[in-house]
């Protein structure tokens, strides 16, 4: 599992997760992912376009990320998951956080609707 980070428009945190969010993959990135969800009113995009697999441990990390951001009155979206990964997210009750489209559009959506979460 590889995590890459970039800022969009200066204050939207774009985290890209490439690989499998299984036990090994989740343990490899969880501290860094949660660190990016901190601060005041964080705006976070977790890009899942290159995430092939999410197990329950990976879902825990995504749920924890959403809770962390929500507790700080921020906004967060799960960007462009594949169909199987989206299916797992939907079963876990996270469908409302899925955003499909360009990352800039997602960033704009976070800006215009900070209560998306």
């Amino acid at each position: 599992m590889q995590l890459s980070f970039a800022e969009i428009d200066g204050n939207v945190r774009h985290l890209k997760l490439a690989g499998n969010l299984d036990i090994a993959g989740t343990l490899a990135v969880e501290t860094k992912v949660l660190a990016h969800c901190g601060g005041e009113q964080p705006r976070v995009l977790i890009d899942l376009a290159e995430t092939r697999f999410v197990s329950s441990l990976g879902l825990r990390l995504l749920l924890q990320s959403i809770k962390t951001v929500a507790a700080r009155s921020g906004s967060i979206s799960l960007l462009n998951p594949s169909i199987p990964v989206a299916g797992a997210l939907e079963i876990a009750g996270l469908a409302a956080y899925i955003f499909r489209g360009a990352e800039t559009a997602a960033a704009a959506a976070l800006k215009s609707n900070p209560s998306v979460s």
């Binding site: 697999f53 924890q64 809770k67 299916g87 797992a88 079963i91 979460s117």
Partner: protein, 139 residues
């Protein structure tokens, strides 16, 4: 098509990555549909992890047996272990409609297996747990 795959996984977390990789290779070689392939990988990780974490009180080596069969347009996966009796079908389903701040963090693994499979069965026989998952390959 009638093709099978078997592997034994030791009851320690170090054994999981190789087991996952071996299963993934085989699923890819067989061109198994993405939804079934996802379910198989998920079942391996969730059921073996549960067994390693909660299945044994001793420190002895145990083996968790995995069998997959592709037959009659269906994938049938069996996970068998000699751990404590554990019926995943008796696990309470998490309420995924709760507001996010009230949402429990855990309990999603078995829930996902139940939702993603077409049928899930459990038997306790000869001192072993056996969970069987059925997935129609081309619904």
């Amino acid at each position: 098509m009638n093709t099978g795959y078997s592997c034994d996984v030791a009851n320690n977390f170090d054994a999981l990555p190789a087991a996952m990789a071996g299963l993934s290779r085989w699923l890819e070689e067989q061109s198994v549909a993405p939804a079934a392939s996802y379910l198989a990988s998920l079942a391996l990780e969730e059921l073996v992890t549960n067994c390693i974490k909660y299945g044994y009180d001793d420190t002895a080596a145990h083996v968790i047996q995995i069998h997959l069969q592709l037959a009659g347009g269906e994938m049938i996966m069996t996970v068998e272990d000699d751990g404590h009796p554990f019926n995943p079908l008796e696990q309470a389903e998490p309420d995924t409609n709760l507001p996010i701040e009230e949402r429990p963090i855990g309990g999603l693994g078995i829930h996902m297996l139940r939702k993603m499979s077409d049928r899930m069965e459990y038997v306790r026989e000869n001192g072993k747990n056996r969970v069987t998952l059925h997935k129609i390959l081309n619904p």
